[in-house]
Symmetry: C2
Subunit: 150 residues, 2 copies
């Protein structure tokens, strides 16, 4: 596990490499604001309804957790010079995120494939993991495919 740095090329990456981006906190006000705009369900917005749900209280929209963790990686600027965008993403939410949860964000390089047709780039598969601080419970896994400059 290493701190992020601004990468210059696809070729700097190594299979299995892991970066630790520190943590973010999911504040109640941000959870409500995101849900109002993008995921207006009672479990994200209505404390009384949420208390009576299978979750037993308000939880963050999974899309909010995804955006917050992904945004935290982007803000580190690790991929600023090499990213050519992505084509897909796969998300799992093994456990709910509650207001005030602190989430440690890390990223692991899962595969590295130089492009056959375009020698200026490679295909990176990575997994961003959000773990609850302090117990380490995995709250989200985001597997992404990115095209990266060489």
């Amino acid at each position: 596990m290493q701190p992020p740095r601004i990468l210059e090329s696809f070729d700097e990456l190594q299979l299995g490499q892991e970066f630790d981006f520190g943590s973010i906190t999911m504040q109640l006000e941000e959870i409500l604001a995101f849900a109002r705009q993008f995921d207006a369900q009672p479990i994200h917005l209505d404390a009384v309804a949420a208390a009576g749900s299978i979750y037993g209280g308000l939880i963050a929209s999974g899309l909010h957790t995804q955006s917050a963790c992904f945004g935290h990686v982007i803000r580190s600027r690790i991929f600023e010079k090499i990213s050519m965008g992505g084509s897909g993403m796969e998300i799992n939410w093994p456990a709910p995120v509650r207001p005030g949860d602190e989430i440690n964000v890390s990223l692991r390089i899962e595969s590295l494939t130089p492009s056959r047709s375009k020698p200026d780039r490679g295909i990176v598969k990575h997994c961003i993991t959000g773990r609850r601080v302090p117990d380490g419970q995995v709250l989200i896994e985001i597997r992404g495919v990115m095209f990266a400059k060489r």
Copy 2:
């Protein structure tokens, strides 16, 4: 293809059923606001840098397109009475979304599995598709897994 209605039970759904939610428009200001908060990359925020990129101009964050299309489905209240939350999602972005793009949002039921262990619910796999108006180009596919009350 049918308009959405508020569903009462998992058992109302049919394999292959499709719902049309009408369209949303991806406004420049909303694209910038989302990117500032969750995906601060030059291709989403800096018109000059974006013009020099492989995209030839500003494009929306894929997470924004995902959130906007998903949020549009949720706002229809179709799943309000039956959703017990979801465990995962898979997203593909076959083509970029540009400021002012109008996106038609539809949803197709891809599989329906009654839970073996919990007779009060079923597992729904669905695909939300966002197509550019008027040419029909697919801009996003969101495959999701939802637990639904019976």
